[in-house]
């Protein structure tokens, strides 16, 4: 994969282009050709930018946020727009309305989104780093290391992932940090198995034997030769895994095991909105719901697009 041939050809036909592009350039161009992947990438990047900017620009003190005079204010922009009062006599103070404490839902969704995204990224980062290390080591070293590690992974996989996360958080105590770690633990086997299978498939390649014959250590071989070659499927899986991690941390939040009140988190906001639904206060639920759906949809579209773009079987077919 390290054959980074520069794209010197100026010919535009697909087949010629592919011969001169490096793997990552090729992947990117194939990714950008798919409309659904472009859409997913657009959502993901926008969400990332918003999640970085919101905490920087808006200093939000959740524990002091309460304004009972604004209790259940309607989403003023949208209602105003629908009622046709376009002459500017409506304010946009509560674009997403206000909840039972009169808190601005627009603001809370912004901060909650940021929390969910950070939690998702952290869980996946923990799971990928631990899982890949276990997988590469057990695939390359084989023997008892392999069988012990894989039996442990089997046990973790024997639990439905959300159930295991719930149990772990129950034991460790609720909170965002424990929630993130619990979700990460449930995901470790996925990356371990993936990295292991990649390590096994390249273990006996000639270039690995060549490295061994010049005296490279196991660690160097894994780091320099096996890891880069197993990167592509791990990237695809972690993009898809981000969606899962966001959903699961939000599910823990919904069950009251994640981010604790009054701090905003999308799952917890949805759980709290349930009591407002019977009285028809739809906005308390709808905006956090749409936000989380869009976020997960973005990751899934991007992940599917990446998988197709990196799939060698599809290469050269289009």
């Amino acid at each position: 994969m390290s054959s980074r041939t520069p794209a010197i050809s100026l010919k535009t036909s697909d087949s010629d282009e592919q011969r001169t592009l490096s793997m990552w350039q090729d992947t990117l161009s194939r990714l950008l050709r798919s409309p659904s992947a472009r859409f997913g990438g657009f959502i993901t990047i926008s969400f990332i930018i918003i999640s970085i900017l919101v905490p920087l620009l808006d200093n939000y003190n959740a524990s002091r946020d309460s304004n009972l005079s604004a209790r259940y204010n309607e989403p003023d922009c949208i209602i105003g727009f629908i009622n046709g009062s376009m002459d500017g006599d409506f304010l946009c103070e509560f674009p997403f309305g206000a909840d039972e404490n009169g808190r601005n839902i627009f603001r809370r969704v912004g901060h909650g989104m940021s929390v969910s995204l950070v939690a998702g990224v952290f869980s996946v980062a923990i799971a990928v780093s631990i899982g890949t290390t276990i997988g590469l080591a057990s695939g390359y070293l084989s023997g008892w290391v392999d069988s012990t590690a894989m039996r442990i992974m089997d046990v973790v996989l024997a639990f439905p992932s959300l159930l295991l996360a719930i149990t772990l958080v129950t034991v460790a105590g609720p909170g965002l940090r424990n929630g993130m770690i619990a979700v990460a633990v449930t995901q470790i086997p996925v990356y371990a198995r993936l990295a292991r299978s990649m390590a096994i498939s390249v273990r006996n390649m000639e270039y690995v034997m060549a490295a061994r014959s010049v005296g490279a250590s196991d660690f160097t071989i894994i780091r320099k030769h096996i890891f880069p070659n197993s990167l592509a499927p791990i990237i695809v899986q972690s993009t898809l895994g981000l969606g899962t991690a966001v959903v699961e941390t939000a599910a823990l939040g919904y069950l009251g095991l994640g981010q604790q009140p009054p701090f905003p988190e999308l799952g917890k906001m949805l759980a709290d909105s349930q009591s407002s639904l019977a009285s028809g206060k739809w906005w308390v639920m709808l905006f956090p719901a749409v936000t989380i759906i869009l976020m997960v949809l973005g990751f899934n579209l991007l992940g599917d697009g990446l998988r197709d773009a990196l799939d060698p079987r599809l290469r050269g077919n289009d």
Partner: protein, 334 residues
């Protein structure tokens, strides 16, 4: 084949052991005295001593584990912290509600997902294919609790079409036979109760089945597309076989193999999804029970429900693997 099945069963043993050890250790990982964790802070010394005796908490850890396993084998899962309920009896009362919900969801997801997947593959790139795959993508992207709340609000509250709390209206009485309300209603010929039970089942079942439906439709479609590219399909078409026959007898039988595995794996998704679905719709199954017990820090219940669900998951996966060898002659003769 029997050799493969035997090996697969042997391989499951360490997993079962590992799962039970992990669930056993759960109570010991909670900071403080496990006896207090199991009984609650307000337990009397007498009660604590009795519990220590029953579960051998004064013995070394590995002996405690053996005592624990022994008690479970005899159907003794212990008592709940609150109300001192017999957990195994309570589990038997609540489990049918979860079974009814999960099996309904799985059945509908399978009956809809397979035809949608087949049709999408056969009519590749048609509007139906595009539409159903977009729907499937949305289905896997929408979290269960979000879908549940949306359905509850729009169908339950705003339109008022369907009930969205519990399994039966409080004014309907139903004799308990199996614990599955719809089945009990049919057995006892209680049609009012049947209609009522079904109407309560619809929203939670749709909520729970969506992810599985989407996954089954996607897998069926991709398996079918792969099979349709095979040489033997071309041969079948070349020899002039009707397209319907090609699909039914040649493609479908081969394409459905991976689908069987996926359907089995869905049971795990359904059982953990049941925690969320039952919590949203106040469905009195083991998922809601688990949620309530977590809120009340009733660890013995959390431990028992976790163990039960994980064991079901392990055995379903084992059964699916074995079933796979039975239906696929290539695996059978390998």
């Amino acid at each position: 084949m029997s050799q493969y099945i035997f090996r697969r069963i042997i391989e499951a043993i360490p997993v079962v052991l590992g799962v039970s050890i992990l669930v056993f250790l759960m109570v010991h990982l909670i900071p403080g005295d496990p006896a207090v964790a199991l009984l609650g802070e307000r337990a009397t010394d007498e009660n604590i001593d009795a519990l220590r005796e029953r579960w051998g908490l004064n013995e070394p850890l590995h002996e405690q584990y053996l005592i624990w396993v022994g008690n479970i084998m005899q159907g003794d899962l212990g008592n709940s912290r609150r109300g001192n309920l017999d957990i195994s009896r309570e589990l038997r009362n609540r489990f049918p509600a979860t079974i009814e919900l999960s099996l309904t969801a799985l059945t509908i997801a399978t009956l809809l997902g397979i035809p949608i997947g087949i049709f999408s593959a056969v009519k590749r790139n048609s509007w139906f294919d595009t539409g159903s795959m977009l729907g499937a993508l949305l289905g896997v992207s929408i979290p269960i609790f979000v879908l549940g709340l949306l359905l509850m609000f729009f169908v339950g509250v705003e339109l008022g079409w369907l009930p969205f709390i519990s399994r039966l209206d409080s004014n309907i009485s139903l004799e308990r036979v199996t614990g599955l309300h719809t089945v009990d209603a049919i057995i006892t010929g209680n049609w009012d109760a049947f209609v009522n039970a079904v109407s309560h089942l619809i929203l939670p079942a749709i909520t729970l089945m969506t992810i599985s439906l989407a996954v089954i439709a996607r897998i069926t479609r991709s398996a079918m597309l792969e099979v349709l590219n095979q040489d033997y399909i071309r041969t079948a078409r070349a020899k002039g076989l009707q397209e319907r026959k090609v699909i039914r007898t040649h493609a479908l039988r081969n394409a459905l193999l991976p689908v069987v595995t996926i359907i089995g794996l869905q049971l795990g998704t359904l059982l953990s999804g049941a925690v969320l679905t039952e919590t949203i719709f106040a469905w009195p199954g083991i998922g809601k029970w688990l949620f309530d017990s977590i809120q009340a820090r009733d660890y013995p219940i959390v431990q028992s429900v976790t163990l039960l669900v994980a064991m079901i998951y392990v055995f379903v996966n084992l059964a699916v693997d074995i079933l796979y060898t039975v239906i696929d002659p290539r695996v059978r003769n390998a």
